[in-house]
Symmetry: C2
Amino acid sequence: MLRSMWTNAFLPAQKYCNASMLSRQKIADEVSKLLELKARLGDKNGEEAPSKLLLKTPKGTRDYGPEQMALRLAVLDKIVTVFKKHGAETIDTPVFERKEVLTGKYGEDSKLIYDLKDQGGEILSLRYDLTVPFARYLAMGKISSIKRYHIAKVYRRDNPSTTRGRYREFYQCDFDIAGQYDPMMPDAECIRIISEALQSLDVGPYRIKLNHRLLLDGIFAACGVPSDKFRGVCSAVDKLDKNSWSEVRKEMIEEKGLDESSADKIGAYVSLFGGMELISNLRKDDELMKYESAVKGLESVELLFKYCDILRVTDKVIFDLSLARGLDYYTGVIFEAILTGDDVGVGSVAGGGRYDNLVGMFDNKNKSIPCVGLSLGVERIFNVLETKLNKEGAKTRTTEVEVFVATAQKNLHEERMKLLSILWDAGVKAEQSYKRNVKLLAQLQYCEESGIPLVVIIGEGELARGEVTLRDVASRAEVSIPRASLIQEIRKRL
Amino acid sequence: MLRSMWTNAFLPAQKYCNASMLSRQKIADEVSKLLELKARLGDKNGEEAPSKLLLKTPKGTRDYGPEQMALRLAVLDKIVTVFKKHGAETIDTPVFERKEVLTGKYGEDSKLIYDLKDQGGEILSLRYDLTVPFARYLAMGKISSIKRYHIAKVYRRDNPSTTRGRYREFYQCDFDIAGQYDPMMPDAECIRIISEALQSLDVGPYRIKLNHRLLLDGIFAACGVPSDKFRGVCSAVDKLDKNSWSEVRKEMIEEKGLDESSADKIGAYVSLFGGMELISNLRKDDELMKYESAVKGLESVELLFKYCDILRVTDKVIFDLSLARGLDYYTGVIFEAILTGDDVGVGSVAGGGRYDNLVGMFDNKNKSIPCVGLSLGVERIFNVLETKLNKEGAKTRTTEVEVFVATAQKNLHEERMKLLSILWDAGVKAEQSYKRNVKLLAQLQYCEESGIPLVVIIGEGELARGEVTLRDVASRAEVSIPRASLIQEIRKRL
C-alpha cells in the first residue's frame, strides 16, 4: 500500500510531461534580471524607491515547483537507496555554523561565504559545504568512526550562471566514511558507490578519474617545484578541465612564479592518463621514483586499482594525472566523475577524496580521524535529466492521487465527502473538487490532465441503487459497482 | 525489495533502543552553555581570546545524530503519506527571502527574524515560517490554485528552552489549500488531515480546538472593544493556553487599555467551549447576534461542524471560544490540536487556519488568493515519541543493512569484497569491516549490537567447497549454502 515517496517521477507508466520546464526557468531568470535592473535604475535617478514590492527570490536562488520537486525527490531517493545499500546512517547539522568553524578551510573561496548579520550574540555564517560541518560534528562528539550520508542545501555567494544550472543555494549529496581503517578499503567502496549511483540514475555513459595528492606532490618535487608552491601549482592544474594547457602554463609561470622548464615538465606529466600500464610506466621513471611521496602515492593508486577490479568498476575508472581537485584539505586519493555522452556538455557530476587531517583542525590536541568521502553533483544531474525528460516529451506526475470522487448532478457534495471519508479510512489516495457544484465534464477533464487513474462517480441514480460508477480514466470504460465492494474493486485495479 | 526510506524506526520487529537519547541532549546543552560562559569570561578579563576553537553548534541549534534522524525521518514519512493521501504536491523555496518580503507579516515577532549581513547586493533574511514564502510563491507565479505540502526548517531568534524541545532552527511541516472554493470544504479537510496525521503517529489522545476570527471580532464588538483594539485583545486571549485568566485580564486592562467591564464580558465568553449545543446557545445571545461578523462566524463554525461530522472527526473537535491564535494574518476559521494524554504536558502539536488576504499583500493590484492551511508541530511530536521510545526501552536501527560479510581467518578480505560485489549487484544491503583482518567474534558482536539480521561467513574451508556459512544473528543458527544459491537464500529469509 505505502509506496516510497520519491519514485513517482521515474515510473515508466507515468510518462506525462512538462515540455517547457527548462525554458520557463530561463524566462524566469531573465525577468528577474530585468526587474532588478529596473529597481536599480529607480535608485540611480534619485527618485523615491517604488513602494511596490519587488517580487522575486534572492539572486542566484529559485523556487522549486511541483514538477521540479517530483524529479528532485525521485533522484534523491535513488541516491539514498544506493547509500543505504552500503550501510550508511544519516545525520543533519544546522544550516549555519559559528563563523570560526568555517574560517581557514576553503582558501581563497572563503570570500564566497554568506555571513549573518551581527544581531548580538554569536557571529554566524551559512554552511559552504557539508564536509566541514561533518568534521566539526565528529570532533565535537568525539566520534571515531561512522559511515554517514547527508543531503542538504549549501550556500555560496558566487556569481552563478543560473541558465547553466549553477545557483547560490544548491543541494549537496555527501557520503563519507570516517575511521582508522586499512588502506584503500573505504576509498574503493566510494568509487563503487559513485558508479552505482550514476548507473541507477540513468544519466548515460560516465568515467571516474582517479589521482593521488601524494603522487602529485612527488611529480611537482621531481619537476623542481619548491614545496611551498605545491598547493598553488595544484590549484592551477585543477583548472585543466576548463582551461587549455597554455593558459594553465601561463598561470604557473606568471602568477605562481614557476620557471618555464618546471612548468613544461609538469605539462608532460599531467597529459598522461590510462590504467594499470600507466602505473607500470611511472614505476620505471627513475627521476620520479626518487621521491618517497611519489612512490607511496603510486602504491596507493595500484592498490586502489586492484580493489576497483574486485568491486567490478575497473571499466569505469581512469588514472588521470591532470586531476587535482581544488580544495586544500585532500591528503590522499582524489576522484571525479564526468559524463561522456555526446549531448551532455562537460563538467563533473561527482567528486571526492581522502581528507585525513580536517577533523584534527577542530581538536585541541590535533587528534584527527581519517576520512574519505564523495559528493554527488545533483544539481547538474537534475539538469541532465530534465533536459532528457523534455526531449522525450514525458510528463511527470506531481501527485499520487489514485481516485477522484466526482458527482454527476448538483448538490451532492456531501455524498462525495461521505465517500471520500470511506476511501481515506481505507488508505486510498483520493480527492474531489472543493466546489459544491461542478460540471462532470470538468471533473473528468481534470483527471485526464493530471493523470489520476480512477474516477468514482455518484449521481442520484447510483445513490438510489446503492451503487457507484467506476471509470477508468485512460480507457474511459465505466462499470457499475455496489458500494460495499468499491474498496476491493479499487485495490484490484491499482 | 525497495523499502520506504522512512519507516524503519517504526517497524515493531526492530525495537532496539537508545535509552540515553534525551539525557544526552540535556548534557550537550549544559556543556555548551558552560563553554560559552567560559569563552565570555576570557573576553571580559581583557585577556587575548583563547586560540582554541569553541566547539559547539550555534545557540539554539543542534546536530541530529543517526538515532534522532531515524526517528525524525520516520515521523516525516508518516506525515507525508497522509498529505499525499489528500492529493498534495510539494514545493520548496529558498531558505532566505528578500527582507521586504517578511516585513509587516509577523507583528511584534518581527524582532526574532534572522537577518543576513549586507555583503553588497540584496538585503536578506532567513525564513521565519513557510506560510509567507508560500504566499510570495503564489503571487509571484500568479498561481490561482494549488494544494501543496512543504517540509523545511525555519529560523527564529527566540530565547528557546532547548531542554523543553524549543529551538532557533526547527522543522515546519505545512499543508495548505489555495484557491477560490466553496465555504468550509477545504477547511474541513484540513481538520481531517490533522486528525489522520496525529492518529498515524500514535501520539496518544488529542483534541482539535476550533474557533473563527469573525466570531471573535463579533464578541469583542459586543463586549464594547473598539475595533482598533481587536488584534491586541486577540493576542491577549491567545495567551490563555499558558497564562491564567487573571493574568490575561490584567494585560487587557493595563496594557491594551480595556475597561474592566469589557474585560469581564470577554472573560465570560472565552470560558465557553463545547459542540453543536454551544452554537445553538450563542445563537440565542441577542446582544451578540446584533453583530454581523458574529452571525457570519457562527454560521461558518456550524457548517464546519456539519462537514467534520461527514468526515468522521466530530469526536475529535471542540468549539473553543478561548482559541485566538497569535498571528495577524488569519481571517476565518482557526484551529489548534493539543495532546490530552496524562503524561505529555501541555502545548499545541498542530495549528492553522484561513488567511484570505496574505497573498494580496504581495500583489500590486491587491488581488488575493484565499488560503487555508495547517502546520504540524513536529518538534514537539519528535519529543513526545522520543520520550515514549525511551520508556519502552526500544532501540531504533539507524541503518538498513541486511547482510554482514565476515571472514573466519586472516587475509581473506579480497574474498569478502568479491562476495560484497555480488550482493550489491543483486540489490542486497550489505557491508563488511574496512579492516583487512578482524576477529570473527568482533564481527559477530557488531552484528548483534547493530541489529543486522544475517551474516555470511567465509573461511578457507568454505572457499575450498564453494560454499558459505549463513548465520541468523538473532537465533545464532548457522547453515552451509552453495555460493550459487546464496542470493536466493538471503531473499527467502528477509
